[in-house]
């Protein structure tokens, strides 16, 4: 068992995810069987193998740099338009700093 109660709770906390007791039970079983399956990668010797983070591009093909020029994108009204709680031109969030 790679993952038990404590690991699922810890990871859920890292991911800012509240999960129910029922989900926790289900995930422990399923995640362990997935991780067990993934274990087979360890049978390969990758000592001298470079990792691949992305394909196709080479360093010489880095076309992504451009001039950093200011341009008009979205108005404040548009940008706030999808906000679930908005006031006075800001996104509203619950209190971040606790009162003493």
């Amino acid at each position: 068992m790679k993952i038990g109660n404590a690991e699922v709770e810890y990871v859920a906390k890292l991911a800012n995810l509240a999960i129910t007791e029922e989900e926790k039970k289900m995930f422990i079983g399923q995640l362990n069987s997935i991780l067990e399956y993934v274990e087979q990668l360890n049978s390969l010797d990758t000592e001298n193998v470079e990792p691949t983070a992305q394909v196709v591009h080479t360093q010489e093909q880095n076309f992504s740099l451009r001039q950093d020029e200011p341009c008009v994108t979205f108005s404040q009204e548009e940008s706030l338009g999808n906000g679930p709680a908005v006031a006075a031109g800001y996104f509203k969030v619950p209190k971040v700093i606790a009162e003493r």
């Binding site: 990871v11 995810l17 509240a18 992305q54 999808n82 679930p84 971040v96």
Partner: protein, 481 residues
């Protein structure tokens, strides 16, 4: 009915000759959606008003005697993880249920400029995570060839809409087979372009080193036509490459005499259902009759592909989905009055089970102490898989396999066993790991009436010759084997 089987080229000609108006064609497809979609449920939401306005603009152009754009009057469905300005873009998730897109994805911008009509947004597995469209937070889509069967996924709404004539073409996205597998299960054509061929700006990110947007249609020609419009460098997507975009229709009808096709011996072992195997063998015979040469090849790391893929895809997904926090858009659940409680409760209420499972696993493999053992290991094995393909493509022009080891399974059949669902992606995921283009084309139906798909994988940026081969197969009757 008379408009049901038109291709994009035929639609444009009809409008050019004045034999039909774009508005008439649009209305025909709207009527098809209204008649068929209550059964199929391919659309999450429709945008008929927008489509009618787009059609009216085409008719005005025609009236003014102007030349018509490349996709004039082409009805399209857009997968709901691709942004269309002013329309909801839910990604099949409760967390984005009321999210309205502020801008057009680059592909959408290009399609609109070339005269396409957007009928609506197509259903998908939540955030494109799934192979059956059962993970949509709103409802499952059904397979037009058997309503008790899944359409495949995650672009199941797009493929089902095309297959049931509720649109002529559609856009999907493909992270591990999400265009090709539903195209296969629904009996239509779906193409995943080379990584970096098509801009992802405006596609809600899932696995950033794997994702590509691509077309789904009923003919190879339509897929080629749409690809020609959406491909190319985009300053908004740093991963898109500045390579010339060919006219994919040029040379599409060339002879395929002498083309070499690799058949990976690892792919044709156990695991392929007998009726899929039968159809594929018939398809390969047909290609031989067209002058293609078959060669057995080896992809020795095939057995490790699924494990590699899921570690990488889940890790990238867990990072990409961190942005959904209830602050700037989407759902918010207040929690216990503090910020972290709000994050947790929002994400708990907003994400479905499969998404949570992947976030938990992805976070685990990236977490301190496990990163090297899982994520880095998978990236190294990815290199080995890439080398397998490089070696194979020195010997052959294309690699062919079934798209999916089985035909469409029944709704509910695999939903309780995530690993079984992942294993069915064996033939499609490698193209994403390696970045090569792939197309799924119909290859007949089983006696039960369910479509079989043939997958052709090509070399990086070799879409043109891949489409040529697919077209030759289609013209020789391969779709109806």
């Amino acid at each position: 009915m008379e408009f049901d089987n038109l291709t994009a080229g035929q639609i444009k000609s009809l409008i050019e000759r004045g034999d039909a108006s774009a508005v008439e064609i649009c209305s025909h497809y709207i009527a098809n959606v209204q008649r068929e979609d209550p059964k199929i449920k391919a659309y999450l939401h429709t945008s008929f008003e927008k489509a009618r306005q787009q059609a009216a603009r085409i008719d005005e152009l025609k009236k003014a005697g102007a030349s018509l754009p490349r996709l004039a009057g082409l009805p399209m469905a857009i997968k709901d993880n691709i942004l269309v300005k002013g329309l909801r873009s839910t990604c099949g998730s409760k967390i984005l249920e009321n999210f309205i897109a502020l801008y057009n994805a680059t592909v959408v911008e290009k399609l609109e400029a070339e005269g396409a009509l957007f009928l609506g947004k197509a259903n998908l597995d939540e955030f494109a995570m799934g192979s059956s469209t059962e993970n949509s937070a709103f409802f499952p889509t059904r397979n037009p060839h058997g309503l008790e069967h899944v359409p495949g996924g995650s672009s199941g709404g797009s493929a089902a809409a095309v297959a049931s004539h509720m649109t002529v073409a559609a856009l999907g996205s493909d992270t591990g087979g999400s265009i090709r597998q539903p195209a296969s299960l629904c009996g239509v054509v779906g193409l995943k372009p080379t990584y970096s061929r098509v801009s992802r700006y405006g596609l809600v990110a899932f696995g950033s080193s794997l994702d590509q947007i691509g077309p789904i249609a009923r003919s190879v020609e339509d897929v080629a036509r749409v690809l020609g419009v959406i491909a190319g460098k985009d300053p908004h997507d740093a991963t898109s490459l500045d390579l010339p975009v060919p006219d994919y229709l040029t040379g599409i009808a060339n002879s395929v005499q002498g083309v070499t096709i690799g058949l990976p011996k690892e792919y044709f072992g156990a695991g392929i259902s007998p009726d899929v195997k039968d159809k594929l063998q018939a398809g390969l015979k047909l290609l031989e009759a067209l002058g293609c040469r078959m060669a057995e090849i080896e992809l020795p790391h095939t057995d490790f592909a699924i494990a590699t893929y899921y570690v990488i895809a889940m890790a990238e997904a867990s990072s990409n989905l961190a942005r959904f926090d209830g602050v700037r858009y989407g759902l918010r659940v207040s929690g216990e009055g503090n910020l972290s409680g709000m994050y947790r409760e929002t994400r708990d209420a907003g994400f479905g089970t499969e998404v949570k499972r992947r976030i938990v696993l992805g976070t685990f493999v990236l977490s301190s102490g496990y990163y090297d053992a899982y994520y880095l290991k998978a990236q190294k094995v990815r290199t080995l898989i890439k080398q397998d393909f490089e070696k194979a493509f020195q010997k052959v022009d294309f690699i062919i396999s079934p798209t999916s080891p089985t035909t469409a399974f029944r709704i509910g059949e695999k939903s309780s066993d995530p690993l079984a669902m992942y294993l069915s992606d064996i033939f499609t995921i490698t193209a994403n790991l390696v970045g090569v283009p792939g197309i799924s084309i119909p290859c007949g139906k089983t006696p039960a009436g369910l479509p079989v798909g043939m997958q052709i994988l090509g070399k990086h940026f070799d879409e043109q010759r891949m489409l040529n081969l697919a077209y030759a197969f289609e013209q020789a009757g391969g779709f109806d084997l």
